[in-house]
């Protein structure tokens, strides 16, 4: 029998992406390469396939979608929601349910916690392949606690393979949903003092001589979803020197609501709004992690990072996600002073 559950610190690195999908697979690669990552396991691609086979879900999805005109966005949306209902109605096999609950209890034990809050993340095969971009198309649940809620979140992640947006995009691109079976990650929720994203090149200008960090208090959701204007930091790659640190007026924070058991977006406390999020040590550790990850993969990356509340100075920050960065090719920045070329460009109308 195939493995339904895979621990990210145990899965073979060369098999990680196939077993756990790209998002979780890369976390496994990073962890085993020595980057600090939270405890996590994945409900595997095979588990998803077995679940689909058991209920004939792939065929049911095809039956619903084949009748839809891909150009009719209202019809696509309605059909996608119907597929999601089918997925949400399909019960997990006892073996899988037991596997998830046991793994979750084990994760709680590792965190020395009961019903530890976790992040449940979609990790669909091919979701960030070079050709297609499903960034943000699939669900992530932050701060889920308790076995029933975790199992429910796994099922919701599976169903999110058929969000109207992902469904429409696949129909337009002619991508078969069978080509992207979805693993789901269950990841220790790092109690975040601050979080954000970081890019190993400038994501807008494409300049490769610098890293860009965006930071907010609390969890990273508000940054990832663009709900807040985060602090903006640029750091030179060659000497890891902070080039600029723009402190933003941060009006929204993703905070953990213990009563609900979820991370949720609330108004930033007044005193924190214009306070600088990262100190020099934290910047240095984010930079160290990003450069290590870029070096590991050999191409520019973006990452989601978290500074643990209990982190001490000098300790690594946690990386919760990474992927190849998608940027347009940038014009080559000037490398040497060439007075004729610059005069031609700026003094003599060549820049027009």
């Amino acid at each position: 029998m195939t493995d339904l559950i895979a621990w990210m610190d145990q899965v073979a690195p060369d098999a990680a992406l196939a077993v756990a999908g790209p998002k979780m697979g890369r976390l496994a690669e990073l962890g085993q390469a020595g980057v600090r990552v939270p405890y996590s396991f994945a409900v595997t691609v095979d588990a998803f396939r077995a679940h689909c086979d058991e209920h004939g879900l792939a065929q049911k999805a095809d039956d619903i979608l084949s009748a839809v005109d891909a150009a009719d966005s209202a019809a696509v949306e309605a059909a996608a929601l119907r597929v999601q209902d089918v997925f949400l109605a399909a019960p997990l096999s006892e073996a899988l349910r037991r596997g998830i609950v046991e793994a979750y209890d084990e994760l709680s034990d590792r965190c020395v916690d009961l019903n530890a809050p976790v992040a449940v993340r979609s990790s669909a095969t091919g979701e960030d392949s070079g050709a297609a971009s499903f960034a943000g198309a699939f669900d992530t649940y932050l701060g889920v606690s308790g076995p029933d809620r975790v199992v429910d979140a796994v099922r919701r992640c599976w169903a999110s393979l058929f969000t109207p947006r992902a469904t429409a995009y696949r129909l337009q691109q002619g991508i078969d949903h069978r080509a992207m079976p979805m693993a789901v990650g269950v990841v220790e929720l790092v109690h975040a003092r601050s979080s954000g994203v970081a890019f190993s090149i400038h994501p807008v200008t494409g300049k490769r001589d610098r890293l860009v960090i965006e930071a907010n208090w609390g969890w990273g959701e508000a940054v990832v979803q663009g709900l807040v204007t985060p602090d903006h930091v640029e750091v030179g790659k060659a000497d890891r020197r902070v080039l600029r640190y723009d402190v933003a007026d941060k009006r929204v924070v993703s905070a953990f609501d213990y009563a609900v058991g979820a991370v949720t977006e609330v108004a930033m406390p007044e005193r924190l709004r214009e306070r600088q999020v990262l100190d020099d040590d934290e910047v240095a550790q984010v930079v160290a992690a990003v450069l290590r990850i870029e070096e590991h993969y050999g191409y520019p990356v973006d990452v989601e990072w978290v500074v643990d509340r209990h982190r001490r100075s000098g300790e690594a920050v946690s990386i919760v996600q990474t992927r190849p960065v998608t940027v347009v090719a940038a014009p080559e920045p000037p490398k040497v002073w060439d007075p004729t070329a610059f005069a031609a460009k700026y003094a003599h109308g060549g820049g027009r």
């Binding site: 790659k237 600029r244 040497v336 610059f342 003599h348 109308g349």
Partner: protein, 592 residues
């Protein structure tokens, strides 16, 4: 829809009463200097700020030697890829300038390719080249200073005048030979700074704090001010009209030590005119009123302007600005920035913009002037400078004995003087631009030197709307904010009118205005970009300055209380003067 300001008022083929030139009398490279024709309306012309009083017939020579020859030759030789230099048109006694465009992209490309073989070498050798040119100009200069003008006969004086003009023409060959590459390099660096995200308002600071001959002159004036104070001449300066100071001082035994010092000063620094490139202007040797007037107003200040403290501060500000800019750059970017900065500091355009005035703009018209004044004496002219109201071919004919200085010419000079005065009075209401106003000017020389940026264009376009303007915007040329009473000056002759703490409002400044920056609270100019004289000197002296305001001299009235924000580039009229000021109507643009 393009805004067109008609040229009709100036369409004529007569340059001045009694002169319609043959076009073989002055050299030009691409396009000659001439009067307006209706066809010129399709082009964009801007009022040249260099001569706020207008030009006498002989003064118009600069348009031939400087623009028609100097700019056009330099632009062709270098070559300047997009332009062939500047051409001028006559409007009364005033002149309007336009850039001569290179017509096709293909030709621009070929010119740019040629420039590749020229510019780097020029920049690398700049120190050497400029030293050679200064030495060359100085050799000729020493020759003319050594001439005893009373000795040669009239034809020989004519010959000397020709030689003086050749010197004048050569000086402006050099002027533009040097200016275009320096400006190109500066603008290249400016562009790189934009690309690197460096705050461009700081670029002027990167290049400031280098001593020039003009600053040296100002320091000497400061030293003389202290000397006058130490000799107890404060009271004499305070109660004596500027124009009477020299005769009063010379007659006062108590002032003899100061007079001796002042003569020594004049011997070194006095060969300069009160304005750029104009044969009509005397040097300080001939008339020391401007220098003494400056000392007079310096004496009114509680404290002397400390030139060395200001220079040290400018250098510190330079170091700080460079460090701040570099801190935001990656090591790779720093390499480009540092090399560009080093190049621009070594071949420093803002520095040269000030320094060259000492050697060229403020003195190379003097030998021609000396020849003219001597010729006037020999021919028995009514007034010593009557000859500058002759055109060059007329002057040469008179000197060569081809034509007598007869009643006809004498009468013409009288009419021309009246003509000059007529147009002098019209200057404040002359349109700032003529012809077809473009949506945007993209020639960097017109933008950075003449200040023809979007503020300026919008201001001249808005002039016809009739709305009361209380706030004016322009280029934030030198930082800081100051309030004061506005002194709207039409030319440097009136500089002595300005009191310490007042705000100078003018079309534009030239080097002879520099000493005033030691006493004014702020400066506002109609024209001029970040590289104009006022911008450079404003930064050196720490005087809040806004340039390219467009219509400052029309909107702001003498005596208004104004606030100048040189950081934001905004000028606000706080309290309009109650004194009656004759209404001046701005030009009315016509939409086509």
């Amino acid at each position: 829809m393009a805004t067109v300001i008609p040229v009709d008022d100036y369409v004529t083929d007569e340059w001045y009463p009694g002169f319609r030139p043959a076009f073989d009398h002055a050299p030009f490279v691409i396009e000659p200097f001439r009067t307006f024709s209706k066809a010129d309306e399709e082009r964009f012309w801007f009022l040249d700020f260099h001569w706020p009083r207008g030009l006498t017939p002989l003064g118009l020579i600069w348009n031939e030697d400087g623009y028609g020859w100097g700019t056009q030759l330099a632009a062709e030789n270098m070559p300047l890829p997009p332009g062939r230099g500047i051409t001028q048109r006559i409007a009364g006694t005033h002149t309007y300038a336009a850039a001569i465009a290179v017509e096709t992209e293909a030709e621009m490309g070929l010119r740019a390719a040629r420039l590749t073989g020229y510019l780097p070498d020029f920049l690398n050798r700049f120190d050497e080249i400029w030293a050679e040119r200064v030495a060359e100009v100085d050799r000729s200069w020493q020759f003319f200073r050594a001439v005893d003008w009373s000795v040669p006969d009239l034809p020989a004086l004519g010959q000397l005048a020709r030689q003086a003009r050749a010197f004048h023409k050569r000086a402006f060959e050099i002027h533009f030979e040097v200016m275009y590459p320096l400006l190109a390099n500066y603008l290249g660096f400016y562009g790189v700074c934009v690309e690197l995200g460096v705050d461009t308002t700081q670029i002027g600071k990167f290049l400031q704090g280098y001593d020039t001959k003009i600053m040296e002159t100002d320091r000497e004036l400061g030293r003389l001010t202290k000397e006058a104070r130490d000799h107890g001449l404060g009271e004499l300066f305070a109660v004596t009209e500027a124009t009477l100071l020299w005769s009063t001082l010379e007659a006062d035994p108590a002032a003899s030590a100061f007079v001796a010092s002042f003569r020594d000063f004049l011997d070194v620094y006095g060969y300069r005119t009160e304005g750029s490139c104009d044969i009509a202007l005397p040097s300080w040797i001939e008339d020391p009123t401007p220098a003494l007037g400056m000392i007079k107003t310096f004496l009114q200040k509680e404290e002397d302007h400390d030139f060395s403290v200001a220079l040290t501060a400018a250098r510190q500000e330079r170091a700080d600005a460079i460090a701040a800019a570099r801190s935001g750059l990656t090591t790779e970017e720093q390499a480009v920035f540092d090399a560009g900065l080093a190049s621009c500091q070594a071949a420093n355009f803002p520095w040269w913009q000030d320094d060259h005035n000492y050697y060229i703009d403020l003195r190379v018209s003097l030998p021609m002037r000396w020849a003219c004044l001597e010729i006037a004496k020999r021919i028995g002219a009514e007034r010593p400078d009557d000859t500058i109201f002759l055109f060059w071919p007329e002057l040469m004919d008179v000197a060569d004995g081809v034509r007598p200085y007869d009643e006809e010419l004498r009468e013409l000079v009288v009419r021309r003087r009246a003509y000059f005065d007529h147009w002098l009075a019209k200057r404040p209401t002359m349109p700032k631009v003529l012809g077809t106003i473009p949506e945007a000017v993209d020639d960097p020389i017109l933008i950075e030197i003449f200040g023809l940026n979007s503020h300026f264009l919008n201001a001249v376009k808005a002039a016809g709307s009739g709305a009361e303007i209380k706030t004016l915007t322009g280029v934030a040329a030198a930082k800081g904010k100051a309030r004061g009473i506005a002194r709207v000056l039409n030319n440097a002759d009136e500089l002595h009118r300005i009191q310490p703490g007042e705000v100078l409002v003018c079309e534009s400044t030239s080097p002879n205005w520099t000493p005033a920056f030691a006493k004014i609270a702020a400066c506002v100019c109609d024209g001029g970009g970040t590289l104009s004289h006022a911008a450079i000197v404003g930064r050196e002296y720490g005087v809040p300055t806004v340039t390219a305001v467009g219509l400052a001299t029309m909107v702001i009235k003498d005596g208004d209380e104004v606030e100048v924000d040189g950081t934001a580039g905004v000028v606000t009229v706080l309290k309009a003067t109650t004194a009656e000021v004759p209404h001046q109507s701005p030009p009315v643009p016509v939409a086509t």
